[in-house]
């Protein structure tokens, strides 16, 4: 789909997405032709590009702001997730559930990190680990999107997602 730079402003959203998809594939950045809806794989050139960007961003966070990286598992326990679910309407319908250990004991494939970090922080506070907690993670998240999916923007299997969390003893410091 060839077009000039000035033409991009006049495009409808549908045509713009078509253009984006074709150029991501043509430039060997992201392959959106994966058999499952809303999941895309990264070509070697695209991966090298995004890896350098992520490295730069995490170096700034570590050196300038004193953050630490954390790698969390892909599952949240159903009970922990339901605590977060109270604040967002119908969130439980838009995530992936899994019977990891038993059929009755359901787990959720992480849609965000809040539920995971909440359970970890509660444990650390009980063990009197000193505040503040400054962590970030780069990970893939799974959300069941029923509408149209867009690569890099609105996917069922979204990667990379950089999530940053700060926990302070008072509201003023955390802001």
């Amino acid at each position: 789909m060839k077009m000039k730079v000035g033409q991009l402003n006049n495009l409808t959203e549908e045509k713009l997405m078509e253009w984006l998809k074709s150029y991501l594939d043509f430039g060997e950045i992201v392959n959106d032709d994966f058999p499952s809806k809303g999941a895309s794989s990264w070509y070697p050139y695209g991966y090298a590009l995004i890896k350098n960007i992520l490295k730069l961003a995490s170096n700034i966070l570590i050196k300038n702001a004193g953050f630490q990286e954390i790698v969390l598992p892909s599952f949240v326990h159903g009970e922990d997730f339901m605590k977060e679910c109270r604040h967002i309407k119908d969130f439980s319908e838009h995530v992936y559930w899994s019977p990891l250990y038993k059929e009755d004991d359901l787990h959720v494939v992480t849609p965000t990190i809040e539920a995971q970090l909440g359970s970890l922080y509660a444990r650390w506070l009980r063990d009197s680990k000193a505040l503040p907690y400054k962590y970030f993670t780069i990970r893939s998240v799974a959300r069941y999107i029923t509408g149209r999916t867009i690569p890099l923007r609105k996917n069922r299997d979204l990667w990379p997602l950089k999530l940053i969390s700060i926990t302070q003893s008072n509201k003023r410091q955390s802001l």
Binding site: N31, D33, F34, P35, S36, A39, S40, S41, W42, Y43, P44, G46, Y47, A48, K51, Q68, E69, I70, V71, L72, P73, S74, F75, V76, H77, D80, S92, E93, H94, V95, Y96, W97, S98, P99, L100, Y101, H107, V109, S119, L120, R123, Y135, T137, I138, R139, S140, A142, Y144, T146, R156, D157, W159, P160
Partner: protein
């Protein structure tokens, strides 16, 4: 394998998580692991491998192509809150089910071969429904390395063998190899011994042209004829990284 408490304290990071048999990594341990990962990537880059990324969810239809090669009961099912009937699987491996789809997009002619892809990053993981769990075999492995080698002739095995031996030499790990039959192919395992337990640290599968035919990967050779590439899949588990760190090897 159970670790002594003193080694846990030395690292200063608990290897546990509120969920049973799943672990989180942070601080000193994660820094040590990332140092090992950069060491690994340098070896792979020297050997001509390219890093890429595959999605986390695998549709059932993709894995059904390989149902005579693998048992689906080992894989973890996921379904959405709205629709319980149509379920997918969480990724059991990188190259075997998904890498071939990407390779099919890249390989068009004999000039694109040999193609060497790998995937290794702490941000995403490989999951399996493991029957026995400990630090070395958890249902989720965050630092697993998956490689796929596609060649024109049957050199794929040589590439794989050479790469694994250089990696294990670099990490100074003693190992023995064991060969098993893998339905229509072969499976070579690299085994090491830790306190009376034998742990598989690496392995490679030789698929020949079987996997490429199933995934419909083809190319045109020098004479313009249609041909299928040979494929070898390689995997190195996170055991090797944890082993190195917990034993305080340099």
């Amino acid at each position: 394998m159970k670790h002594k408490g003193s080694k846990k304290k030395k690292l200063g990071i608990p290897l546990d998580y509120p969920l049973p048999n799943l672990y989180y990594f942070s601080g000193n341990l994660l820094r040590k692991i990332s140092r090992q990962l950069t060491k690994l990537t340098s070896v792979l880059n020297e050997a001509g491998f390219q890093e890429c990324h595959f999605p986390f969810l695998v549709p059932r239809s993709v894995l059904l192509n390989y149902k005579d090669l693998v048992s689906l009961s080992n894989y973890i099912k996921v379904y959405s809150g709205k629709d319980r009937r149509s379920y997918a699987y969480l990724r059991p491996d990188g190259i075997f089910s998904q890498g071939v789809i990407l390779a099919g997009k890249i390989i068009k002619s004999y000039r694109d071969l040999p193609l060497r892809l790998f995937e290794m990053s702490p941000g995403y993981a490989k999951t399996r429904n493991q029957s026995k769990w400990n630090v070395f075999t958890s249902p989720e492995q965050s630092f697993s390395l998956q490689c796929g080698i596609f060649t024109e002739d049957d050199n794929a095995e040589n590439y794989g063998r050479r790469l694994l031996s250089t990696i294990l030499k670099k990490f100074s790990i003693k190992y023995t190899t064991a060969e098993t039959k893998f339905l229509k192919g072969r499976n070579v395992q690299y085994v090491t011994k830790i306190n009376d337990n034998e742990v598989i640290i690496a392995k490679y599968y030789i698929f020949g042209r079987e996997a490429a035919k199933r995934a419909n990967i083809y190319f045109f050779d020098k004479k313009g004829r249609l041909a299928f590439p040979y494929m070898c899949a390689l995997s190195l588990s996170q055991n090797i990284l944890l082993l190195n760190i917990l034993d305080n090897k340099k």
